[in-house]
Subunit: 468 residues, 2 copies
């Protein structure tokens, strides 16, 4: 077997070609939550199959009830660890398009701040993440002639629209997916110099609530202050969801939430907040008085250890460019709940809906949209595979890997853990200022490079772990 | 002089042609608050000048700093009352277009509920109103060979966008507009059988408030419950504007608001609420517990005698068709204040802005949009011209004219009263279910007909008042 240095040389030499392929991947507008994304999703899946076949894996598109899964397996050899790599090739919608400095599906490279930044929807979340794995597999094959472990690559096409088919797919294909350890690449670093292995993941519940008045739109001069106003009803109810300390007032919301152990809290409080926040301001947040978040817990505990609810959007009545004296007919809000511990999605959803219904004025009607969701997951931090991944990361980056949590939901982790009975280890290289889910999403060539090197080293460590 | 019966016969005979001309008027998309409306505004003004010239008036388009005014005067004859008629030919935006059953500027007549309904933006507010005056002038000229009084017709082109040029126009053209009495046709009836003369008009202040977070859009999984959320800030502040009895909590808001005299309140409380509301539900309003409006005062007092603030629109964050885990960068709301008594627009605006600013969390910024506004007006109810108008209306309609108030702002009334030193009498035939300012705005041919007859009778009574 080739030494890791030869593999890494191969990664370095391959970089321009790796980048070219990455840009082709980014050009697919594979938006999973909009009907117009379906064609690009299918085209992207076909392209990925071709790429993976080209690496000597047996790859195919596998249909689901929603968008297809891409699955690829390397030839099996007895006595080697079987490693499953998960990623997702779908992306968030790019709207509002006018907020982008260049078209979101025409990847543009800009030299700025000493980096070569790649601007595109999906540049960070999550195409760069699984593509780094694939380029690491390529470097191994090109340099060593074969992969050091048995590999399964599983790429999802509907992570950004709620992963509706994922659970059925994993359950129905347990045999095919069987492995010794799974890796989820859809994740972030702690700071530009410090990689991370994420072991605590929050659960997620999406809800949309619409309040309808008993009337259509009315002239607010005639019927204002008389007929019920759904914007007033909605803002009133939403404002009641948090108390003046930022705690959620929904009855029973904190059931199943355990306090953070003092030693863990101490570790979290020792972390550098500027690194945790990657340039994001929390003015108005828990470091000052204001409604930025729950008061009391520190920033890191809020991010990794406390549940909450966030208002993602609101709309009602006159949202046009000019004044209009109208009493709206309806108003809606979108919210996400982030769960920890033993909070269950269906329980939180029911409690929220009851909270709204009991506050609904006479004559109004409420509609809810939202289904499914995920529970929180904690990965066994004593796993030898975590140790292997940490050794690899520590060799590549200036600072040692941090074992951390995340507020972002990654339902696949809980699912693979539960269905395959293995540790699912989350390693990725997204940073807080990559503008994921937002206009002008970006990544940089330097991180793509070090990400490929990191996965090349992780493959080496996994092979070594087995040999040891 | 022709008897009024001959004039009314002429109105009846003219109706099909009157309706044809009305439909041509409705076809101009004369939206004053959007840049794309300017061309139609200009074309509509030209068309009106041609129509008024055709009636023997000297008509012209008079430019303003905004949209043009149409002014027309009949030949003057000594010893006759000079009567000014005000109307506005601009309309509200028609958005959201998809909520209309037919295109808003392609007037469509539908026979339903025993009526011939005309669907179009402006069908009620306010093209039908001044067009009824013009067709009454036509009937007088066609039947009697001349108008019974000296007439000035003044048609505004920016009433629906705040009447920014109106004050300057009236002030600068006081000589030209000099008259014995002014009529404002932009108004409503009490019920389908009962006309009304409106003597109490509320003032109006439009405001838009935008809350900006210190960050752009963020992933709500990573930064939710930590970074400040402008939707949460905005909903929190808006919900604090009303107390649990629906009263406005802004300090000093009710300064200059006098209680309603007991005898006037008794008259108002004796009115038929179903008629006042024209089919509009106030479930959730003051007839039941809920946030529909201020608790305590009756519905009519709220509509005509109490000030208030209404939320016209709200928007922020993800307003797209699908789920998106985003922490918004900003959120805005549009509000209108309705003033009574001695409340001043500039004072209310300043108090509102202070209310927001003192509640703004650290790190957030606020932007306000809004200027001008109008104070409330009360017309002298002992005016002999009110008596003349009431006699005319009582002769035409099944029930006698009601002397009433309105919550809709009609700044022109205060302006003409003040600048011309005359009574400005408000008579119109809009009904509560005409869907003004809303999709599927409508009027009916029967009301157009009786409106023209009413104005024909008012012209007769005004001529008679003078002779008496």
């Amino acid at each position: 077997m080739s030494s890791i240095d030869a593999i890494l040389d191969q990664v370095d030499a391959n970089l321009p070609a790796s980048l070219d392929r990455f840009r082709r991947l980014l050009a697919f507008p594979s938006v999973s939550s909009l009907p117009e994304g379906a064609e690009a999703i299918a085209a992207c899946a076909d392209w990925l199959v071709e790429e993976l076949n080209g690496l000597g894996l047996a790859a195919r598109v596998m249909p689901t009830a929603g968008h297809p899964m891409v699955l690829a397996t390397s030839p099996r050899r007895a006595g080697r660890p079987k490693v499953l790599f998960y990623g997702h090739y779908d992306v968030q919608p790019a709207e509002p398009l006018e907020a982008w400095d260049s078209p979101p599906f025409e990847p543009r490279i800009v030299e700025e701040d000493g980096l070569r930044r790649i601007y595109a929807r999906g540049a960070a979340d999550s195409k760069s993440q699984f593509w780094s794995v694939i380029e690491a597999l390529r470097a191994w094959r090109d340099s060593a002639g074969e992969l050091p472990v048995d590999v399964t690559v599983m790429l999802e096409g509907e992570e950004e629209s709620g992963s509706a088919s994922l659970s059925d797919f994993v359950t129905e294909n347990r045999e095919l997916l069987a492995c010794d350890v799974a890796f989820n690449s859809d994740s972030d670093m702690w700071s530009p110099d410090r990689p991370a292995i994420t072991t605590r993941l929050k659960g997620l519940v999406h809800e949309k609530v619409t309040i309808n008045a008993p009337n259509g739109e009315l002239h607010s001069g005639h019927f204002g202050n008389v007929a019920v106003n759904p914007v007033q009803v909605l803002t009133g109810i939403l404002s009641a969801i948090h108390d003046d300390r930022g705690r959620v007032t929904i009855e029973g919301f904190y059931d199943g939430v355990d306090p953070i152990a003092p030693d863990l809290r101490a570790q979290w409080e020792a972390l550098d907040l500027d690194e945790a926040l990657s340039g994001v301001s929390v003015a108005g947040g828990p470091r000052e008085e204001g409604p930025g978040g729950e008061k009391g817990p520190g920033v890191v505990e809020l991010m990794w250890g406390r549940p909450g609810v966030d208002f993602n959007g609101i709309s009602g009545g006159n949202t046009g460019p000019s004044e209009r004296s109208v009493l709206p007919a309806s108003a809606y809000a979108r919210l996400t709940y982030r769960l920890v511990g033993r909070q269950r999605p269906e329980d939180i959803r029911a409690k929220f809906r009851k909270f709204i219904e009991t506050r609904l004025p006479a004559g109004c009607q409420v509609e809810f949209e939202g289904a499914g969701g995920s529970t929180a997951v904690s990965v066994n931090e004593a796993s030898p595979y975590i140790a292997a991944a940490a050794r690899a990361l520590n060799a590549e980056w200036p600072e040692p890997a941090l074992i951390k949590g995340t507020g972002g939901a990654v339902p696949v982790v809980g699912l693979l853990t539960e269905q395959l009975g293995v540790d699912c280890i989350t390693v990725g290289f997204i940073l807080g200022d990559d503008a994921i889910h937002a206009p002008n999403e970006r990544y940089d060539v330097e991180r793509l490079h070090k990400g490929i090197r990191s996965w090349s080293r992780i493959l080496s460590e996994l092979a070594g772990s087995n040999a040891a």
